[in-house]
Subunit: 125 residues, 2 copies
Protein backbone atom coordinates (compact mmCIF):
# COMPACT_ATOMS: atom_id res chain seq x y z
CA UNK A 1 0.00 0.00 0.00
CA UNK A 2 1.56 3.35 -1.00
CA UNK A 3 1.66 5.96 1.74
CA UNK A 4 -1.51 8.00 1.97
CA UNK A 5 -0.62 11.61 1.14
CA UNK A 6 -3.70 13.02 2.84
CA UNK A 7 -2.88 11.15 6.04
CA UNK A 8 0.73 12.26 5.91
CA UNK A 9 -0.36 15.88 5.55
CA UNK A 10 -2.74 15.60 8.50
CA UNK A 11 -0.16 13.92 10.70
CA UNK A 12 2.49 16.49 9.77
CA UNK A 13 0.05 19.38 10.43
CA UNK A 14 1.26 20.69 7.10
CA UNK A 15 -1.13 22.69 4.91
CA UNK A 16 1.35 22.76 2.02
CA UNK A 17 1.46 18.97 1.96
CA UNK A 18 -2.35 19.03 2.25
CA UNK A 19 -2.58 21.29 -0.79
CA UNK A 20 -0.56 18.72 -2.76
CA UNK A 21 -2.75 15.89 -1.49
CA UNK A 22 -6.00 17.46 -2.73
CA UNK A 23 -7.14 17.80 -6.33
CA UNK A 24 -7.99 21.32 -7.36
CA UNK A 25 -11.59 20.19 -7.93
CA UNK A 26 -11.86 18.27 -4.64
CA UNK A 27 -15.33 17.97 -3.14
CA UNK A 28 -15.45 18.26 0.66
CA UNK A 29 -18.47 17.07 2.66
CA UNK A 30 -18.43 18.19 6.26
CA UNK A 31 -19.88 16.24 9.17
CA UNK A 32 -22.19 19.17 9.86
CA UNK A 33 -23.55 20.68 6.64
CA UNK A 34 -25.49 18.75 4.00
CA UNK A 35 -24.20 20.44 0.88
CA UNK A 36 -20.64 19.96 -0.38
CA UNK A 37 -17.86 22.55 -0.47
CA UNK A 38 -16.23 22.61 -3.89
CA UNK A 39 -12.61 23.25 -4.68
CA UNK A 40 -9.25 23.05 -2.95
CA UNK A 41 -9.28 26.56 -1.49
CA UNK A 42 -12.59 25.98 0.28
CA UNK A 43 -11.42 22.61 1.60
CA UNK A 44 -8.08 23.98 2.84
CA UNK A 45 -9.81 26.85 4.61
CA UNK A 46 -12.11 24.48 6.49
CA UNK A 47 -9.40 21.92 7.23
CA UNK A 48 -7.22 24.68 8.65
CA UNK A 49 -9.95 25.65 11.11
CA UNK A 50 -10.63 22.03 12.01
CA UNK A 51 -6.92 21.52 12.70
CA UNK A 52 -7.07 24.35 15.24
CA UNK A 53 -10.08 22.84 17.03
CA UNK A 54 -8.94 19.21 17.15
CA UNK A 55 -6.52 18.33 19.97
CA UNK A 56 -4.68 15.03 20.58
CA UNK A 57 -5.68 13.85 17.12
CA UNK A 58 -4.57 10.37 16.06
CA UNK A 59 -5.57 7.79 13.47
CA UNK A 60 -6.55 4.34 14.73
CA UNK A 61 -6.80 2.38 11.51
CA UNK A 62 -6.77 2.84 7.73
CA UNK A 63 -8.83 0.69 5.39
CA UNK A 64 -8.99 0.56 1.60
CA UNK A 65 -10.81 -1.27 -1.18
CA UNK A 66 -7.91 -1.05 -3.63
CA UNK A 67 -10.12 0.96 -5.99
CA UNK A 68 -9.50 4.41 -4.56
CA UNK A 69 -11.78 4.37 -1.52
CA UNK A 70 -10.05 4.81 1.84
CA UNK A 71 -11.44 5.21 5.34
CA UNK A 72 -9.24 6.69 8.05
CA UNK A 73 -10.59 6.14 11.57
CA UNK A 74 -9.52 8.65 14.21
CA UNK A 75 -10.03 9.88 17.74
CA UNK A 76 -9.55 13.43 18.88
CA UNK A 77 -10.79 15.96 21.40
CA UNK A 78 -12.60 19.27 21.12
CA UNK A 79 -12.37 21.11 24.42
CA UNK A 80 -13.42 18.60 27.05
CA UNK A 81 -15.22 16.29 24.64
CA UNK A 82 -13.85 13.17 23.02
CA UNK A 83 -14.73 12.81 19.37
CA UNK A 84 -14.36 9.78 17.14
CA UNK A 85 -14.48 10.07 13.38
CA UNK A 86 -13.86 8.78 9.90
CA UNK A 87 -12.19 10.62 7.02
CA UNK A 88 -13.57 8.88 3.94
CA UNK A 89 -11.46 9.56 0.84
CA UNK A 90 -12.06 8.87 -2.83
CA UNK A 91 -8.63 9.02 -4.48
CA UNK A 92 -7.71 9.48 -8.14
CA UNK A 93 -5.10 7.37 -9.94
CA UNK A 94 -2.32 9.58 -8.60
CA UNK A 95 -3.46 9.21 -5.01
CA UNK A 96 -4.93 12.70 -4.78
CA UNK A 97 -8.19 13.25 -2.97
CA UNK A 98 -11.18 13.69 -5.29
CA UNK A 99 -13.74 13.56 -2.49
CA UNK A 100 -13.32 13.93 1.26
CA UNK A 101 -16.24 13.17 3.54
CA UNK A 102 -15.91 13.52 7.31
CA UNK A 103 -18.07 11.72 9.85
CA UNK A 104 -18.05 12.37 13.61
CA UNK A 105 -19.68 10.94 16.71
CA UNK A 106 -21.26 11.24 19.26
CA UNK A 107 -23.99 13.79 18.65
CA UNK A 108 -23.40 16.13 21.59
CA UNK A 109 -19.74 16.58 20.71
CA UNK A 110 -20.63 17.18 17.05
CA UNK A 111 -23.15 19.83 18.06
CA UNK A 112 -20.49 21.66 20.06
CA UNK A 113 -17.97 21.26 17.26
CA UNK A 114 -20.51 22.73 14.80
CA UNK A 115 -21.00 25.75 17.03
CA UNK A 116 -17.26 26.38 17.30
CA UNK A 117 -16.88 26.02 13.52
CA UNK A 118 -19.72 28.48 12.93
CA UNK A 119 -18.12 31.02 15.27
CA UNK A 120 -14.80 30.78 13.47
CA UNK A 121 -16.46 30.98 10.07
CA UNK A 122 -18.36 34.03 11.24
CA UNK A 123 -21.78 32.62 10.44
CA UNK A 124 -24.84 32.19 12.62
CA UNK A 125 -25.13 28.60 13.82
CA UNK B 1 -11.93 -11.11 0.47
CA UNK B 2 -14.43 -13.38 2.23
CA UNK B 3 -18.02 -12.15 2.24
CA UNK B 4 -18.79 -9.85 5.11
CA UNK B 5 -21.41 -11.53 7.32
CA UNK B 6 -22.53 -8.28 8.91
CA UNK B 7 -23.09 -6.70 5.51
CA UNK B 8 -24.95 -9.75 4.26
CA UNK B 9 -27.25 -9.62 7.29
CA UNK B 10 -27.96 -5.92 6.78
CA UNK B 11 -28.64 -6.35 3.07
CA UNK B 12 -30.91 -9.34 3.70
CA UNK B 13 -32.79 -7.44 6.44
CA UNK B 14 -32.33 -10.60 8.47
CA UNK B 15 -31.95 -10.33 12.24
CA UNK B 16 -31.15 -14.06 12.57
CA UNK B 17 -28.20 -13.65 10.22
CA UNK B 18 -27.28 -10.53 12.19
CA UNK B 19 -27.29 -12.52 15.42
CA UNK B 20 -24.81 -14.96 13.84
CA UNK B 21 -22.65 -12.08 12.60
CA UNK B 22 -22.22 -10.54 16.04
CA UNK B 23 -20.16 -11.90 18.92
CA UNK B 24 -22.08 -12.33 22.13
CA UNK B 25 -19.79 -9.74 23.76
CA UNK B 26 -20.05 -7.25 20.88
CA UNK B 27 -19.62 -3.59 21.76
CA UNK B 28 -21.90 -1.22 19.86
CA UNK B 29 -21.19 2.52 19.67
CA UNK B 30 -24.07 4.55 18.30
CA UNK B 31 -23.73 7.74 16.27
CA UNK B 32 -25.69 9.55 18.95
CA UNK B 33 -24.68 8.42 22.43
CA UNK B 34 -21.15 8.59 23.82
CA UNK B 35 -21.14 5.43 25.91
CA UNK B 36 -21.12 1.96 24.35
CA UNK B 37 -23.91 -0.62 24.46
CA UNK B 38 -22.54 -3.98 25.53
CA UNK B 39 -23.67 -7.39 24.37
CA UNK B 40 -25.48 -8.89 21.40
CA UNK B 41 -29.00 -8.47 22.75
CA UNK B 42 -28.55 -4.73 23.23
CA UNK B 43 -27.01 -4.37 19.77
CA UNK B 44 -29.75 -6.39 18.06
CA UNK B 45 -32.46 -4.37 19.78
CA UNK B 46 -30.97 -1.10 18.55
CA UNK B 47 -30.19 -2.40 15.05
CA UNK B 48 -33.77 -3.61 14.74
CA UNK B 49 -35.08 -0.11 15.44
CA UNK B 50 -32.55 1.47 13.09
CA UNK B 51 -33.64 -0.92 10.33
CA UNK B 52 -37.22 0.36 10.72
CA UNK B 53 -36.11 4.01 10.45
CA UNK B 54 -33.69 3.69 7.53
CA UNK B 55 -35.27 3.66 4.05
CA UNK B 56 -33.62 3.05 0.66
CA UNK B 57 -30.47 1.89 2.45
CA UNK B 58 -27.52 0.86 0.30
CA UNK B 59 -23.79 0.40 0.74
CA UNK B 60 -21.51 2.42 -1.54
CA UNK B 61 -18.13 0.89 -0.79
CA UNK B 62 -16.40 -1.51 1.59
CA UNK B 63 -12.82 -1.04 2.76
CA UNK B 64 -10.57 -3.22 4.90
CA UNK B 65 -7.07 -3.25 6.34
CA UNK B 66 -6.76 -7.04 6.26
CA UNK B 67 -6.34 -7.05 10.04
CA UNK B 68 -10.00 -7.12 11.01
CA UNK B 69 -10.98 -3.48 10.53
CA UNK B 70 -13.69 -2.84 7.95
CA UNK B 71 -15.52 0.34 6.99
CA UNK B 72 -18.84 0.09 5.16
CA UNK B 73 -19.96 3.37 3.58
CA UNK B 74 -23.69 3.80 3.04
CA UNK B 75 -26.45 6.19 2.09
CA UNK B 76 -29.98 6.01 3.35
CA UNK B 77 -32.97 8.19 4.15
CA UNK B 78 -34.85 8.95 7.36
CA UNK B 79 -38.18 10.54 6.48
CA UNK B 80 -37.38 13.32 4.03
CA UNK B 81 -33.72 13.57 4.97
CA UNK B 82 -30.80 11.94 3.22
CA UNK B 83 -28.23 10.44 5.56
CA UNK B 84 -24.74 9.21 4.74
CA UNK B 85 -22.85 6.96 7.12
CA UNK B 86 -20.11 4.52 7.96
CA UNK B 87 -20.44 1.21 9.77
CA UNK B 88 -16.98 0.64 11.21
CA UNK B 89 -16.41 -3.00 12.21
CA UNK B 90 -13.68 -4.68 14.20
CA UNK B 91 -13.90 -8.39 13.32
CA UNK B 92 -12.51 -11.40 15.16
CA UNK B 93 -10.65 -14.25 13.43
CA UNK B 94 -13.95 -15.91 12.50
CA UNK B 95 -15.30 -12.77 10.87
CA UNK B 96 -17.71 -11.97 13.70
CA UNK B 97 -18.16 -8.40 14.83
CA UNK B 98 -16.32 -7.55 18.06
CA UNK B 99 -17.01 -3.82 17.81
CA UNK B 100 -19.49 -1.91 15.69
CA UNK B 101 -19.30 1.86 15.54
CA UNK B 102 -21.75 3.86 13.46
CA UNK B 103 -21.11 7.37 12.11
CA UNK B 104 -23.72 9.56 10.38
CA UNK B 105 -23.83 12.93 8.66
CA UNK B 106 -25.00 15.69 8.27
CA UNK B 107 -25.83 17.08 11.68
CA UNK B 108 -29.45 18.09 11.13
CA UNK B 109 -30.42 14.64 9.89
CA UNK B 110 -28.58 13.01 12.81
CA UNK B 111 -30.45 15.22 15.26
CA UNK B 112 -33.78 14.14 13.77
CA UNK B 113 -32.66 10.52 13.73
CA UNK B 114 -31.70 10.78 17.42
CA UNK B 115 -35.14 12.12 18.28
CA UNK B 116 -36.88 9.27 16.44
CA UNK B 117 -34.62 6.72 18.15
CA UNK B 118 -35.38 8.24 21.56
CA UNK B 119 -39.13 8.07 20.92
CA UNK B 120 -38.92 4.42 19.94
CA UNK B 121 -36.71 3.60 22.92
CA UNK B 122 -39.18 5.40 25.17
CA UNK B 123 -36.60 7.76 26.64
CA UNK B 124 -36.53 11.52 26.84
CA UNK B 125 -34.29 12.99 24.17
Amino acid sequence: VPPNRFRQAVEAHNLDLMRDALREDVVFRSPVVFGPYEGRDAALHLLGIVAELFEDFRYLDETTDGAGNVSLHFVTRVGEREIEGIDHLALDDEGRVRELTVFLRPLRAVTEFAQLMAERLGVAS
